[in-house]
């Protein structure tokens, strides 16, 4: 399952109003580590689709949201719950480490 893309237009509904916890992957085309972590996030999305939604936000196309959430490094993965950021993970990490970082949302 490929994590679906969200944008400034859909962010409110898909992320902020989502009943489930949502991980937003802030990424860009030109970011090598983002491309490396993307398939790992897709795997986690597939394996834990009952607990955690995973979506991608392109920072080039959505600079307003990147600024709002003070993104200064990508990949930046932010978990939202009830409209609030409850966890931030920065940088591409191997799957077992990401799973540890996200344990409380996928456990």
């Amino acid at each position: 399952m490929t994590a679906r893309a969200v944008s400034e237009a859909t962010f409110d509904q898909e992320v902020l109003q989502n009943d489930k916890a949502v991980l937003v992957d802030f990424w860009a085309e030109w970011c090598g580590p983002c491309r490396a972590v993307s398939p790992i996030l897709d795997q986690i999305a597939t394996e834990h689709s009952d607990k955690l939604d995973i979506v991608k936000l392109n920072v080039d196309e959505n600079p307003g949201l990147a600024m709002k959430y003070q993104i200064t490094a990508i990949p930046a993965m932010k978990v939202f719950k009830g409209g609030e950021v409850v966890r931030t993970v920065i940088g591409a990490k191997p799957k077992p480490i990401l799973e540890q970082d996200l344990a409380e949302f996928i456990g």
């Binding site: 490396a36 920065i90 940088g91």
Partner: protein, 336 residues
């Protein structure tokens, strides 16, 4: 069991794979899960790799190396080695996904990792204005004031690249002259957005949730001053990535894996090392590639000798060492 496993996917690893694959050794290359391609993946234009007169983007160069290695039969695995067993004739690697592989020989080409400043606030502010990757994070510093720490080629490249976004880029260096190549120095000196802060080291980073500045200590006078910043990029060098082989392979005083003379032979027969992980001095893409070639040829000799002696690795290694001595004598003759 395989003939050869290569750990690492930078220029050393992929070049070793090209040679080993062309020798029909069907190498397995373990590329890592998130750092495939190594350090060049985080660079922009590579201008000093021969054969690309117009320059080539780092990720493109690595993509081509991988394609070339795969064309001759290299199998690439996107996972991380978490454990390594190098003793004895069968080398074993354990992967992050729980799987494992065995081979008669091993090429270790794990490169190096960014050196940290060693400050307590580093962990907390990392990703919040503190960065090791200008190409990843520079974009977020449009019209900002930032600094690069370091005086080598990487620092000059980062500083020059960051002027595309930032209004002002300080280069903080602890000496009064740069280590960088002349062309990279000149490019930075000529850039009106770059200002050098000489003889200075960062002794503290300010900011609660994001970088707001640094404390600088003058390395000559000891004077302390503050500099307001929106971001800090660190390019103070790299350390060889050897944690997997601590206590298993001999290391040098510099922390690199010790190899025998100009060869790639480590302290354990059948285990070869190449690239930045054995190189405390040059650390270029092209020297790493050359070093990968050496490792593949050494591994090939080792495997051939292994077959001749019916799988007795000690004898194979001794024979290889003898060959090297002969080469050394030839070279000595030639210089006389």
């Amino acid at each position: 069991m395989r003939d050869i496993i290569i750990i690492g996917s930078g220029p050393a690893g992929f070049t070793a794979a090209i040679y080993a694959a062309r020798a029909e050794l069907k190498p397995l290359l373990i590329a890592s899960s998130v750092e495939i391609g190594g350090e060049l993946m985080n660079t922009t234009e590579v201008e000093n790799f021969p054969g690309f007169p117009e320059g080539i983007m780092g990720p493109d160069l690595m993509g081509k190396m991988q394609a070339q290695a795969e064309r001759f039969g290299t199998e690439v695995v996107y996972d991380d080695v978490v454990e390594l067993d190098v003793e004895g004739p069968v080398k074993r690697v354990k992967l992050g996904n729980g799987g494992g592989h065995e081979a008669k020989s091993l090429i270790f080409a794990t490169g190096s990792a960014y050196r940290k400043l060693g400050l307590p606030e580093e962990e907390r502010l990392s990703g919040h204005g503190l960065s090791w990757c200008a190409t990843c994070d520079g974009f977020f510093f449009r019209e900002k004031t930032i600094a690069v720490v370091g005086g080598g080629d990487s620092a000059m490249e980062e500083a020059t690249f960051l002027t595309r976004f930032a209004d002002k880029v300080y280069v903080i260096h602890r000496r009064d002259q740069l280590k960088a190549s002349k062309i990279m120095q000149q490019r930075a000196f000529d850039n009106p957005k770059i200002e050098f802060v000489w003889n200075a080291e960062v002794s503290a980073i300010h900011g609660d949730t994001a970088v707001t500045g640094v404390t600088l200590r003058d390395t000559v006078s000891g004077d302390v001053s503050a500099l307001d910043l929106d971001g800090l990029f660190v390019a103070i060098g790299n350390d060889p990535r050897t944690h997997l082989v601590h206590g298993k392979l001999d290391l040098t005083a510099e922390g690199t894996i010790a190899v025998d003379g100009r060869s790639s032979r480590t302290s354990v027969p059948g285990v070869f090392a190449a690239g930045d992980v054995i190189d405390p001095t040059y650390r270029q893409a092209v020297t790493a590639a050359g070093s990968g070639t050496v490792a593949a040829l050494d591994a090939e000799h080792y495997l051939a000798a292994l077959e001749d002696t019916d799988g007795e690795p000690a004898a194979a290694s001794a024979e290889a060492a003898e060959v090297d001595e002969l080469v050394a004598v030839d070279l000595a003759d030639a210089t006389r």
